[in-house]
């Protein structure tokens, strides 16, 4: 039996056992590649049980700090019915044929995997019961489990999972759709707080991350790219670099034109990273002229102002008749908002280790999204995708930056070129200057109110980046942002200008900025309507109902938002009397299927802002899998948002990024981090992800609190010295 691969042609499930997989027994409930059954493609994970009862659960999704390496295995362990303390977790290799989607992005892992991974666990439990019932000659229905054991109540017999796993692995798994899952009330693991599975290694400095990878014969590399994105090398004298002790090679990389692929540059490969870095610093690279060399933030701002005055290029959505409604309004409110480009600034600079040998490519990558990386590497190195193996290592931060695999193809290319394993490591300057930035944009709002202060019209002229109908990456807008469908007359107009800088998703892409502008302007409208900001939002949300079509990502449930708004108002003591110079601000926003409301209490004294406390309420469905982990994600998202709102902006001059590190693109520090009190509102909806949705409401909650404290309305980020 060991090592055999069994296929059940009717259910197309693959069951693997064996020594080949590490000595333990493997129950692998994966779908075979071409024979995938429609509708249950998410059913794919590994459970291994050793004869001594040790359970190994493979975690399929990359770990970037979102805690998925703990929470998803908890889901399997729950339905498998084992002691969490008996479980060790292994990070999966990148293999969509076995694991399906392996992406740390869009806060989608919980949403997409929760049900399927419960069934993976339940399938294992059913097999173990089948093995026990066969051995005892009793009906499976008369057997039950308790953590790690199958029991036959009538005879009082019990067998440990470790004693059954060998037999169980040889049995045909039941159709996962037929399995009965646990009643959530009986959960022992899900809903309890469990610590990070890598906690011991993290706190004692054991190797875990991309830059910790060591491969025999490995060389270290640096790669210098043009400050103007995509410019070619015009000329360079490589001899000073080659003269540095330890340097093995220095060479020009021709590269391509796609900003997310292998770009032109100069590589240095050495026997230590410091030698490669020192050598790189000796280079005087002349970069070729490039069409985007004149672009600048000042130029973008001037163009945006022109576009704002001109008729919009197109309309994304128009409900009712906004122009007529504004004409008939008792009061019209207008305001313009802006936000800058920002960088991800993962603390672990981009890096990747690659070994290209005999037409095979082996990669150790801190990536959130390995499959596009595999395709990019295969295309660039001219090898078949099957020749590329990608090991997933713990990422020192994701935030969306590692959805793009530019550093992966660079490492693979350099290894192919020098014929040895290579670890490419960027400097902090490389990281800030060659990010895929959260794009900046401008919003010009007009709202109409009736005599009772009710919202009758909402218009936003969104000025962003792109060409024609095409937005630059992550520079678009979904036209169904609330109050869409809650107000009769609603219009989103768009104008765009071209951009020659790399952009991409950053934590709660789009929404991280829409939350700021929409929820700040909503405060202005509430003020114009002479209403309390929470009361105005309650009225606007109205009766609990679904706006849009059920099951669509852009549908919005007013009752769920009302639930978190009411909860955060209660917990923060909304409406209480505050000393002069102190204020409370509120905001609520829906994104990534999560509803989050935030209140902040701030004071401003002599221009110095202090955030005293933050309250957050989130509705992400019926089940919080790992409560302490969930709390961390909400706290981290909100502090991340405070960090960008206070300090961060990327600007361009002469086609290049001006900022280069933490001095000019600061991160929040200890002394400025307020306490964040987190509350969850449980609702009867499927559990959804938490890596992102708490970010979008935070910037507006902060700016609305500043207004409440000072009367100063922040309409452009970062706040910087605007309070001085």
């Amino acid at each position: 039996m060991d090592g055999e691969l069994l296929r059940d042609p009717t259910r197309r499930l693959v069951l693997q056992t064996g020594a080949a997989l590490g000595g333990g027994l493997m129950l692998s409930f994966s779908l075979s590649g071409e024979g995938r059954a429609a509708g249950d493609g998410k059913l794919s994970a590994y459970v291994r049980i050793a004869p001594n009862g040790a359970v190994t659960i493979v975690s399929k999704v990359p770990e970037v700090g979102q805690g998925i390496k703990t929470s998803l295995p908890m889901v399997i362990a729950e339905e498998l019915d084992v002691d969490w303390s008996a479980v060790s977790v292994e990070q999966a290799i990148a293999d969509t044929k076995v694991f399906g989607r392996q992406v740390a992005g869009g806060s989608m892992a919980t949403t997409l995997e929760y049900d399927g991974l419960r069934r993976v666990g339940a399938t294992g439990r059913a097999l173990l019961i089948a093995a026990a019932s066969a051995r005892w000659g009793v009906a499976a229905d008369n057997c039950v489990t308790e953590p790690g054991f199958v029991l036959h109540a009538a005879s009082g017999r019990r067998l440990a999972y470790g004693e059954l796993a060998q037999e169980a692995a040889g049995l045909t798994p039941p159709d996962p759709k037929t399995l009965t899952l646990k009643d959530p009330k009986a959960f022992r693991i899900i809903g309890q707080s469990h610590k990070s599975r890598d906690l011991e290694a993290i706190t004692t400095g054991q190797p875990l991350y991309g830059i910790d990878v060591r491969v025999p014969g490995m060389l270290y590399a640096t790669f210098a790219k043009a400050p103007t994105f995509g410019a070619k090398v015009a000329s360079v004298d490589l001899s000073p670099a080659r003269a540095v002790a330890g340097v093995k090679d220095a060479f020009v990389v021709e590269g391509g034109t796609a900003l997310s692929g292998l770009l032109p540059g100069v590589a240095v490969v050495a026997d230590s990273w410091w030698a490669a870095h020192k050598a790189r610093m000796t280079l005087d690279i002349k970069w070729a002229e490039h069409p985007t060399a004149a672009q600048s933030s000042a130029g973008f701002a001037a163009k945006a102002a022109e576009l704002a005055k001109a008729p919009p290029h197109r309309t994304l959505r128009a409900d009712g008749d906004v122009d007529a409604a504004l004409k008939g309004a008792a009061k019209v409110v207008s305001a313009s908002y802006a936000y800058p480009f920002i960088a991800h600034a993962n603390l672990e600079p981009q890096n990747c280790t690659a070994s290209v040998k005999d037409g095979k490519v082996e990669i150790w990558a801190p990536t959130q999204n390995p499959e596009p990386g595999r395709a990019l590497v295969a295309r660039t190195l001219n090898v078949p995708p099957e020749a590329v193996t990608i090991h997933l290592v713990r990422c020192g931060g994701g935030f969306g930056r590692r959805l793009i695999n530019d550093y992966m193809v660079e490492a693979a290319f350099l290894s192919q070129k020098v014929g040895a394993p290579v670890q490419l490591l960027w400097t902090r300057e490389d990281d800030i200057q060659h990010d895929f930035y959260r794009p900046g944009a401008w919003h010009h709002f007009t709202a109409g109110l009736d005599a009772q202060g009710g919202l009758t019209a909402w218009r936003d002229h969104f000025v962003s980046f792109g060409e024609g109908e095409q937005f630059a990456s992550s520079a678009g807008m979904n036209a169904t942002q609330f109050p869409c469908r809650a107000v009769d007359n609603y219009k989103i107009d768009v104008s765009v200008m071209p951009l020659g800088a790399p952009t991409g998703p950053l934590r709660a892409p789009g929404n991280n900025a829409f939350g700021f502008v929409i929820q700040s302007f909503t405060d202005e409208v509430a003020l114009a309507a002479r209403q309390d900001p929470v009361a105005f939002r309650r009225t606007l949300l109205g009766e609990p109902r679904l706006l849009g079509e059920a099951g669509q990502g852009d549908s919005f449930h007013t009752g769920r938002m009302r639930g978190v708004l009411d909860l955060v108002a209660e917990k923060s003591g909304w409406g209480r009397k505050l000393p002069k110079g102190t204020g409370l601000g509120v905001a609520c926003h829906y994104s990534h299927l999560g509803y989050v409301a935030v209140v902040m209490e701030v004071s401003v004294k002599k221009g110095a802002l202090k955030i005293h406390k933050v309250w957050a309420a989130a509705d992400v469905g019926s089940q919080i899998i790992n409560p302490k982990g969930a709390e961390q994600q909400v706290q981290g998202s909100i502090l991340d948002a405070i960090s960008s709102t206070l300090y961060q902006q990327i600007t361009f001059e002469s086609g290049a990024t001006v900022q280069s590190g933490f001095a000019d693109h600061p991160l929040l520090r200890m002394a400025d981090a307020p306490p964040v009190e987190v509350h969850f509102k449980i609702s009867y909806n499927r559990p959804t992800g938490l890596g992102e949705p708490a970010y979008p409401p935070a910037p507006a909650a902060l700016c609305n609190a500043i207004f409440a404290a000072t009367g100063k309305r922040i309409r452009s980020l970062p706040i910087g010295d605007q309070l001085a």
Binding site: G65, T203, T204, S272, L347, G397, G636, L668, R669, A673
Partner: protein
């Protein structure tokens, strides 16, 4: 050239250029990868180690300046009573998210608690402000330092 260093109580030697920052000597020449690279400019604190118990940024400390000072890294800080207590508190409170900065945080916190066994919030702010956490685990870092010093959060 060859440098002889005392690291976590052991004598180690490394044949590297004298201007090589201690960070890279630890990570590449000596295989101690727990100390992390974040910026190379002493702006983030990810590379914090102790020289004779004093926290320094290894990314800007050339190996030729270390001399006979005892180097303590995240791999060895648990050998001290304070370091072990800090690591235990970090685990009890489950501080990390991505975890990349935490070696540096633990080194700074251990140095703080060695100098001030019962730090105030202001002491914590001052001692920890040089250590960035991109995931912003600051709330739990503060709680862990309080716990390790036997104070209520």
């Amino acid at each position: 050239m060859a440098f002889t260093l005392t690291i976590n109580g052991e004598t180690r030697s490394a044949d590297v250029a004298g201007d090589t920052p201690l960070l890279w000597v630890l990570r590449e020449a000596l295989g101690l990868v727990g100390t992390k690279f974040g910026c190379g400019a002493a702006q983030c604190g990810a590379c914090t180690v102790h020289l004779d118990g004093v926290p320094v940024r290894a990314c800007i400390t050339p190996v030729q300046r270390v001399g006979t000072k005892a180097v303590t890294t995240i791999e060895g800080v648990g050998q001290t009573a304070v370091g072990a207590r800090v690591q235990e508190a970090w685990k009890a409170i489950d501080v990390p998210q991505c975890g990349y900065c935490q070696a540096g945080q633990i080194m700074s916190a251990s140095a703080l608690l060695t100098a001030k066994p019962k730090p105030t919030d202001a002491d914590i702010d001052a001692a920890m402000n040089g250590n960035l956490c991109r995931c912003a685990t600051y709330i739990r870092i503060r709680a862990a330092i309080k716990a390790a010093s036997g104070q209520e959060a």
